[in-house]
């Protein structure tokens, strides 16, 4: 069972890394600005999941605080970018 658990942790880590690579490809080739903002939002989410998976892998609770910080900053930055796309300015 320990081997299965280690394999599952490594598999989840590799999957999140692969998802981040896909998001980076969309971020680079995205034809419009909204595609890039969507890819950036998904990249924030994948970074949060990467932090959680690493927390499970190393059995440490420190990664949880990092995940909360990452998702908070990701939400604020995505809202600011979407507002900028709608209005052309962030604070009116």
């Amino acid at each position: 069972m320990t081997a299965l658990l280690s394999f599952a942790m490594a598999f989840a880590f590799a999957c999140v890394i692969l998802a981040m690579i896909f998001c980076t490809v969309r971020l680079l080739i995205g034809p419009n600005a909204q595609d890039r903002v969507l890819a950036l939002d998904t990249l924030w989410m994948c970074a949060m999941l990467l932090s959680l998976v690493q927390g499970i892998r190393f059995g440490s609770q420190v990664y949880f605080e990092a995940a909360i910080l990452i998702i908070l900053i990701g939400f604020v930055s995505t809202v600011a970018l979407a507002k900028f796309l709608i209005r052309g300015e962030i604070i009116e």
Binding site: T2, L18, A19, Q34, L38, D41, L49, I71, T78
Partner: protein, 124 residues
């Protein structure tokens, strides 16, 4: 890898299944973001990653740390609640930005504005 050895077998099995399912779902959502042809189809891809993938990983983390520390560790509920609150808001904001930009750019035949559901001013 501290303390993996003293986990019961069915807890290790549950955590492994949740982690593998979460990984597959996360990769599927990101693949949809990369492969789908239209923006309004692409925005559906990360929704899977945000809800089901993050849910699986968060539940796996909750079970793993609860068993590892022999006490209920449920502060991943904070992240779950925040994701469930903010994911629709972010999706609506990006969608509105895309609709505004498409309408302003006069692309009346792309995505949600196809089929004369939304008409632009220069078409009237």
């Amino acid at each position: 890898m501290s303390g993996v050895e003293e986990l019961p077998a069915w807890i290790a099995l549950t955590v492994s299944v949740l982690l593998i399912l979460g990984g597959v779902v996360i990769v599927t959502g990101a693949l949809g973001l990369m492969r789908l042809p239209n923006f309004y189809q692409r925005i559906h891809g990360p929704a899977i990653t945000i809800t089901l993938g993050a849910g699986c990983v968060l539940i796996a983390s909750m079970i793993y740390f609860s068993v590892l520390q022999s006490r209920p560790v449920i502060h991943e509920i904070l992240i779950s609640a925040f994701i469930l609150l903010t994911a629709p808001v972010v999706a609506m904001l990006i969608m509105r930005a895309a609709v505004y930009r498409d309408l302003r750019g006069g692309k009346s035949t792309s995505g949600v504005s196809s089929g004369d559901v939304y008409t632009t001013s220069d078409k009237d």
